[in-house]
């Protein structure tokens, strides 16, 4: 078991180093002309300063600086599309997405590979492009697996997407995905690793329906549904010792709407979870969601705030296995866009994370971030 992990780790690092060299070479060489090349590459860079203070448990207080480079590469031809997203930060180097599509027609794509789960709205709207999201933090509901996200973020398999453009120029987008789900290890979900295919993962099936009242507009509302069979590594955490598997079903509603200078982003997800212990099944149901409002005070300044709430999440058995998951957060922030494609953002939040009791751990957060995109 250990040697398999070591080998997978070695493979992962080789792939990561190779990808870094290729991407740095591509960026440095400047050989890709946007005029006629089917290749395209952009880099999202960010540096974030973070301070956690006034914590209910002083041990939780911390401050750090975190830098991230996210490289996106695409290749397009008439019938084929390729997309790779590689993240390189001071804590990880990982191929986040690696997917190839058969372009069936202009409205229909069939992707194969590793992609972000379509049941997580924020995740599929911003991916790792920190510059494109107004806020610095992500909602707890939509955190990545390795940051105690409660739902799978990465699925490896097939993804079908189809756009129906109606006569009145409104649009319906239908997406369906099936693939390999993350598994539960330690105190988090762990995405499937293609370099360790025997690592024991089960199936994830997700669907999404999106309505846009105007095909050219970004305004949209939609529904998501998912069923995830999550395998459990019972040896990785004493709290998992009697837990055999987790069946997670979700139903979500999201919106992203602009009115003049205002924008509202919201996603609410209802979880119905069966936790299959050796001694029997525990059913766990709860709701998590958030509303983020943004006001564009001028071309360069945006004021924003987000509240993250839930229902029945305080007593959730499943969430108690994810002690770092953010259960509640009330956040305010301001962003300044400058020099074409740079952003400077400040955020302050009153936050509580799940911990392993209904009391939660509470603390304040302050973040400051520079983000940019290079293309």
């Amino acid at each position: 078991m250990k040697s398999r992990r070591k080998m997978a780790h070695r493979h992962r690092w080789r792939a990561a180093v190779l990808a870094k060299i290729l991407m740095l070479f591509t960026l440095a060489s400047g050989q890709i002309s946007r005029a006629e090349s089917p290749h395209d590459i952009v880099a999202f860079l960010s540096v974030q300063g973070f301070e956690k203070f006034s914590a209910s448990d002083p041990m939780l207080e911390e401050s750090n600086i975190h830098s991230t480079a996210d490289f996106l590469y695409t290749y397009n031809s008439d019938r084929f599309r390729f997309l790779g997203e590689f993240i390189w930060s001071d804590s990880e180097a990982e191929m986040e997405r690696l997917q190839a599509a058969w372009v069936i027609d202009d409205q229909t794509l069939l992707w194969f590979g590793r992609f972000h789960s379509i049941s997580n709205y924020w995740t599929t709207e911003f991916h790792h492009g920190q510059y494109l999201q107004t806020s610095i933090s992500r909602p707890g509901l939509e955190e990545w697996e390795d940051a105690s996200g409660p739902a799978p973020s990465h699925v490896t398999g097939a993804l079908f997407q189809h756009d129906f453009v109606l006569e009145n120029q409104s649009a319906l987008n239908f997406a369906f995905a099936a693939g390999i789900a993350p598994k539960f290890e330690g105190q988090q979900l762990v995405a499937f690793d293609v370099f360790d295919p025997a690592s024991g993962h089960d199936l994830a099936v997700t669907g999404r329906l999106t309505y846009r009242p105007e095909v050219l507009s970004m305004n949209q509302i939609g529904l998501t549904i998912s069923h995830n069979d999550i395998a459990v590594d019972s040896d990785s955490n004493p709290a998992l010792s009697d837990l055999n598997s987790i069946r997670q079903a979700t139903l979500g509603f999201f919106t992203n709407w602009h009115w003049d200078k205002w924008r509202v982003l919201s996603n609410w997800m209802y979880f119905d979870i069966d936790m299959q212990y050796g001694s029997g099944t525990v059913n766990d149901r709860f709701l998590l969601g958030y509303v983020q409002a943004e006001y564009e005070a001028s071309e360069d300044w945006t004021i924003f705030g987000r509240t993250e709430l839930g229902d029945d999440e305080d007593d959730s058995t499943y969430l108690s296995l994810l002690p770092a998951v953010v259960a509640h957060r009330h956040m305010l922030g301001v962003r300044w866009d400058f020099a074409d494609r740079h952003g400077l953002t400040f955020e302050i939040a009153d936050t509580s994370q799940q911990a392993d009791s209904p009391q939660h751990d509470s603390f304040k957060e302050a973040r400051i971030q520079w983000s940019a995109v290079f293309r």
């Binding site: 946007r34 005029a35 089917p38 395209d40 996106l72 709207e125 095909v215 050219l216 293309r375």
Partner: protein, 148 residues
């Protein structure tokens, strides 16, 4: 007398420069002179510049942008796309990030734009009307914007 003469010359020079500026105050959509695109609707222009596929005779239209003229780009984005530069750039990046959608080709100047159009019969670009009229290698498909 000499002073009056120089003033008249100055006024004439100003009028000439204004005439040139007025002639520039129209933006047109162009393709290669021998290109097959005869007509394209305003909605299709917006779609193709947002990365949404538009086909003519079954062939995808290739949009091209010119980087070196800020005023031309500003008028195109405000009057045709109804977006700010920031919103437009974000939209293209967002489509690329989400779906791998190709962004419009970008060229450095008008000469490179014309070369690109000549190489791709289904490519379209936008430029000042006066520039389009003075170059036989391109053909105007439609007027996108005109100063009233």
């Amino acid at each position: 007398m000499r002073r009056v003469g120089s003033q008249v010359l100055l006024v004439l020079a100003m009028m000439l420069s204004m005439t040139a500026s007025w002639a520039d105050d129209a933006v047109v959509l162009v393709c290669a002179n021998d290109g097959p695109i005869a007509d394209i609707s305003s909605l299709e222009v917006r779609k193709t510049y947002l990365g949404i596929s538009v086909r003519i005779a079954g062939i995808p239209v290739r949009p091209v942008r010119q980087r070196d003229d800020d005023r031309l780009n500003l008028i195109f984005l405000q009057s045709v796309m109804a977006m700010s530069q920031k919103s437009y750039e974000r939209r293209l990046l967002s489509m690329m990030l989400k779906y791998g959608t190709p962004r419009p080709a970008e060229v450095d100047d008008r000469e490179e734009m014309i070369d690109t159009l000549e190489r791709n019969p289904y490519a379209v670009g936008y430029m000042w009307k006066s520039d389009a009229e003075s170059d036989p290698r391109v053909r105007t498909i439609k007027v996108l914007w005109q100063k009233l």
